[in-house]
Symmetry: C2
Subunit: 190 residues, 2 copies
DNA sequence: ACCCTAGCGGACCGCCCGGTCCGCTTGCCC
DNA sequence: GGGCAAGCGGACCGGGCGGTCCGCTAGGGT
């Protein structure tokens, strides 16, 4: 026996990787940079994540859990389906207005990797988007069974995420879009 | 003197590059693959486009011209600002429903390259999105000077492009979103 | 206190990237 | 028709990628 392994190594690696992947894109960030930022060796990285794809999948899984928690928190006071839809859009609107927000991690990943449809990270992203979509469909279906409201709300959410990914580099006023989306969904559910 | 240069070389290269960049993403496509697909040599490629960034900028410039033509065509029958907004959204809705449509080339590029804000392709993409935005602002401003309508229409357009980029890999029914967007913008401008 | 092993940083490998350049080929000029 | 220079395909280069492995080091067991 010898040294006991550092217990937080995995978290340090995953934290550094998540920040870099989100900020610069997955392909733009090499493994060398990740271990440098995490202050560890490559051996440790590949011990926890055998391939880059595993690390990317773990990054997206963390992002999914964070999003799920935020969504649950935003919905604690929602009593009606209409409240639920407004709260969901308002939560996204608040997120996109935060400084440093660079769009939805899952949509960004799928845009960066249109191929390899069977890779682990792609599955995580697809599953998350499918589940989000199902949640909106369920709430909207109670207000408007035709499904038209669900499509509309989904368009607003996607529009917000899309603008967050690039509008900072245009006029930088994503908060305006967020406010407009909230007002519109409030009008739509009544 | 010797051989006369092939006149369509530049177009063949640019055509192959545009298709590959759009289909697989810019970073995923190497120069070797482009010359292979174009059936030419590297010398010719670098003669017309000294760096990869120049080729990417040219690809986006072509995409911009195509989009501008399509938008002009869609607007020939629009008599009022309200008509204009509906026609613009309908045009995008038709585009996203086409098979093989993989989202907006400019938004995809910016998602893939969040850094190097001063690179030539980034400028092309940013300028195009700024001009589109200005066009929508102008038309919407005549109906609703507060700017709220412009934000709403912009959200719908962005939502459509965003869904087109990934929804084919979910339920594949982007046409539904397109139809919903058109109906919503019709309701909004009245 | 000393050994011995597990922990670990970082050198290293093959591959493919963007970009350069060599030398075969082709067809115009006389 | 032959020579020769421009056209052109593809071999080549340095560098950085993802992934492997070597050898120093630290610290628990006796």
């Amino acid at each position: 026996m010898a040294r006991t392994p550092a217990p937080d190594t995995r978290d340090r690696i995953l934290g550094a990787a998540a920040r870099l992947f989100y900020e610069h894109g997955v392909r733009a960030v090499g493994m060398n940079r990740i271990i440098q930022e995490a202050g560890t060796g490559k051996n440790l990285l590949y011990q926890h994540f055998p391939e880059k794809a595993d690390l990317v999948a773990a990054y997206l899984a963390v992002a999914r859990d964070v999003r799920d928690s935020a969504a649950r928190l935003a919905l604690v006071d929602a009593r009606t389906p209409a409240d639920t839809l407004v709260a969901l859009v308002a939560e996204v609107a608040a997120k996109v207005a935060e400084p440093g927000f660079r769009g939805c991690a899952f949509r960004n990943y799928l845009a960066e990797f249109p191929d390899d449809a069977d890779a682990a990270p792609t599955r995580v992203a697809r599953d998350y988007l499918g589940a989000s979509r199902a949640a909106i469909d369920a709430a909207a279906g109670e207000v408007d069974p035709s499904g038209e409201l669900a499509e509309r709300v989904w368009l607003l959410v996607d529009g917000l995420y899309s603008q967050a990914a690039y509008r900072n580099r245009l006029d930088g006023d994503v908060a305006r879009a967020g406010a407009a989306a909230v007002r519109l969904v409030e009008a739509l559910v009544r």
